[in-house]
């Protein structure tokens, strides 16, 4: 099932499928540098106490994104 990254449940993992047209190219380039490329496994680890940002695990390390950034990335959840 395809969903955007901000729709993952805690602990759920998906494989990156594509970027949708929401974010800027700058943001996309930055995210690609951080490992957000096609096929990368991304797991939602935690949501901040106030509901935003989100902490993800990707390529063995932890990174946080705001909802508005996570929304632009689509993943396939098995």
């Amino acid at each position: 099932m395809i969903k955007s990254l901000d729709q993952l449940k805690t602990g759920e993992e998906g494989k990156l499928v594509s970027y949708n047209d929401g974010g800027s190219t700058e943001l996309k380039r930055h995210l690609m540098g951080m490992g957000f490329v096609k096929g990368s496994k991304i797991q939602l680890k935690k949501i901040a106490p106030l509901g935003d940002p989100f902490e993800y695990k990707i390529k063995g390390y932890s990174i946080c994104l705001r909802k508005e950034e996570a929304r632009n990335i689509e993943v396939d959840v098995e």
Binding site: R29, M32, G60, C64, L65, E69
Partner: protein
């Protein structure tokens, strides 16, 4: 013997700066990259009689034209006459770290890898075949522990070998047949113009496909620009048809595909990863329920240590400075020279000194928070609040909190923000937080006019400062940073125990920077104010007949619409620019000659409403010279202090005016 010059490159949080500190010790100096606001740390050390110069490049994840930090790093690799680039890599995080490595290979840098934190990686069950990694990359790799001497000799040998026998690091880099062919064709075209050959044509080709603005501008100047751009468009369309993604994405995918291949060959990851120490700590520190209380407790400790522990030392320094000033007057008698020395120079030096205990304590704590990895967690926990209210990054919370103690350390703490825009906005907001120097002014007036509701009146001023900051933030963002919204893409690094050396060096360097740069401005301001108070010759110091009194009298009518158009208030405000608490001393001294003393004088000159309007003005108008000097130092120029002065004067005037007029309408007096 010829010097060796190396650059240290790597991702943030990989121990690059730890290695730099460990290598160079005290032989380092921090300045700026020429023409940039990015900090440059350079140093040297001597190994076997050879001097090795080291430049600590900014921590980057990539080498695009994405940020000034990345541009600075790649310019160094391209332009500088360095002998080798040492890429520091976190062994536990090899995959992402290699993304930067690969980009330096594209540049064909004379590259060597220092694999760091191997112990931690092994503990987490990660097994790396270093020889194979080196062979497949075509780049030498050594294992080190940056916080100790482990691997030091191997590293030195690698540096020496790289200098004596430079390598072609792009040799083994392959990006699949399709891309390889296109890049080859493009590179051939680019090679036809000799002016473009100061850097590997493959790299130029890659950057053109990535829409890199700087490289595109450069190629634009070339005689070959038309055929090159035509080919670039063709390749882009072809890649889009083939893979359904942009050329930039196709290249990023190819880089990671190359890295994936390497990792599969050289790295054994644990089958069932054990929970790491960082994971365990984070279960508590960023917990849904405990996260915010823990953050607040840590902030409380930072605040208390910085200001409560700092202020007795501050008072002690103050008393010494006063004693020296008194001693000077006693020694050379009361004349212009002794007054200049005592009231100008010594008190100016004193006010610079008085900030030092706070700055030292603050930076000790901040370095510990930052180096340990907690600062990123604090930003994670508080980001929603800061983003929603001020449009700022979560890390901006700390400068704001510190601003309630003193603006100077608050402004200096904005350094922890990565993006320049965030840093500048935060810097401009800190002075609106009601600092402790304003408290004596509040206390003087509430004691006289609002004896029955002191706490409420003071609290209302603190609150007003915060509210005004929120409004000003929105306006500044509109005026200066239109459409700039910095994304919140932040790594949560693994927790580390900060090294004593690192923390002390960081603190020492920041404190010295303050004394040298902001200190000179504060001192100069103190001397100017002395001149204005002492002359024309023969008048009483700071009286109505002095220049400052005349100036006060001259500008007093400006404040009539706000209700406090008397010369005493105006002069006090001018003095208050040196430091806000000086307002109290000035008012008590200029009203001192009043029958019945200063209190009677103030009671006669102000009403409760005009007193409140005056306090509002004191809260919001120009931050003291120390804060302005610090803003100048941190923002690298006079533009932002000037913006600050204008913003504050306008805000203070408007808000005081509203307070006074609305108060009158509501029947207060």
């Amino acid at each position: 013997m010829e010097n060796i010059k190396i650059g240290l490159a790597g991702n943030p949080n990989v121990g690059k700066t730890t290695l730099f500190n460990n290598l160079t010790g005290l032989h380092q100096h921090v300045g700026n990259w020429p023409g940039k606001t990015v900090e440059q740390a350079a140093g040297h050390f001597v190994e076997n009689g050879e001097r090795i110069d080291v430049i600590d490049l900014p921590g980057n994840y990539a080498l695009s034209a994405h940020s000034i930090e990345e541009i600075v790093s790649r310019d160094f690799i391209v332009d500088e006459d360095s002998d080798a680039i040492i890429n520091v890599i976190d062994a536990a995080n090899l995959e992402r770290n290699l993304y930067l490595t690969v980009q330096m290979m594209e540049l064909d840098a004379n590259l060597g890898i220092a694999l760091n934190m191997n112990k931690l990686a092994r503990k987490n069950g990660i097994d790396i075949d270093v020889d194979k990694l080196s062979e497949l990359l075509g780049v030498p790799v050594v294992q080190i522990e940056a916080n100790s001497d482990i691997g030091h000799n191997d590293l030195m040998k690698m540096i020496k070998d790289l200098k004596d026998h430079p390598i072609e690091s792009k040799r083994k880099l392959v990006y699949g047949e399709e891309l390889k062919e296109h890049l080859g064709d493009l590179a051939k075209l680019i090679s036809k113009d000799n002016n473009l050959l100061d850097v590997s044509p493959y790299w130029t080709a890659i950057k053109l496909l990535e829409d890199d603005e700087i490289v595109m501008d450069k190629v634009q100047q070339s005689s070959m620009s038309n055929p090159i751009f035509l080919e670039v468009r063709k390749v882009k369309n072809h890649l889009k048809d083939l893979y359904g993604v942009s050329a930039g994405e196709a290249i990023a995918n190819a880089r990671y595909a190359f890295i994936d291949g390497l990792i599969k060959e050289c790295v054994q990851l644990p089958k069932n990863p054990k929970p790491t120490m960082t994971g365990k700590i984070d279960r508590i520190v960023t917990n849904r329920v405990l996260g915010i209380p823990i953050f607040l407790i840590i902030m409380y400790i930072v605040f208390q240590v910085t200001f409560t522990l700092g202020s007795p030392i501050q008072d002690w320094l103050d008393s010494i400075v006063t004693a020296i000033a008194d001693g000077t007057v006693a020694l050379i008698g009361e004349n212009a020279l002794s007054s200049l020395l005592a009231d100008g120079v010594i008190s100016g030096v004193g006010s610079v000194l008085s900030f030092i205990p706070q700055i030292v304590l603050l930076f000790l704590l901040l370095s510990i928070l930052e180096d340990s990895g907690y600062l990123a967690r604090a930003a994670f926990v508080m980001d929603k609040v800061m983003h929603k209210i001020l449009g700022l990054h979560g890390k901006a919370f700390i400068p704001m909190i510190l601003g309630f103690g003193c603006g100077v350390p608050g402004i200096m703490a904005t350094r922890t923000l990565e993006h320049e825009e965030d840093r500048l906005v935060a810097m401009l907001l800190v002075p609106f937080m009601s600092c402790t120097a304003r408290l004596p002014v509040y206390l003087l007036f509430v004691g006289i006019f609002f004896a029955s509701s002191q706490a409420n009146v003071i609290f209302s001023l603190y609150l007003l400062g915060v509210v005004v900051a929120i409004i000003v933030a929105a306006i500044i963002k509109k005026l200066f940073f239109k459409g700039v919204s910095t994304p919140f893409v932040m790594e949560l690094p693994t927790y580390k125990i900060p090294t004593v050396k690192g923390v002390l060096m960081h603190t020492g360097e920041k404190t010295w920077g303050f004394v040298r740069k902001a200190g000179t401005i504060i001192l100069a301001a103190a001397i100017i104010v002395w001149v204005l108070s002492y002359f024309p010759a023969g008048v009483d110091y700071g009286s109505q007949a002095s220049y400052i009194g005349q100036l006060g009298t001259f500008i007093a009518p400006i404040f009539s619409p706000l209700g406090f158009g008397n010369w005493q208030a105006s002069s006090a405000l001018i003095f208050g620019m040196v430091a806000k608490e000086v307002i109290v001393a000035t008012l008590t001294s200029v009203f001192g000659s009043f029958p019945g003393g200063a209190t009677a004088g103030i009671t006669a000159a102000f009403t409760p409403l005009t007193a409140y309007a005056f306090l509002v003005f004191c809260l919001l108008y120009i931050p003291c010279f120390a804060a302005l000097g610090t803003i100048k130092q941190e923002s690298n120029g006079w533009k932002w202090p000037a913006v600050m002065v204008c913003t504050c004067l306008i805000t203070a005037y408007v808000v005081s005016f509203i307070v006074f007029r609305v108060g009158l309408l509501l029947g207060f007096h």
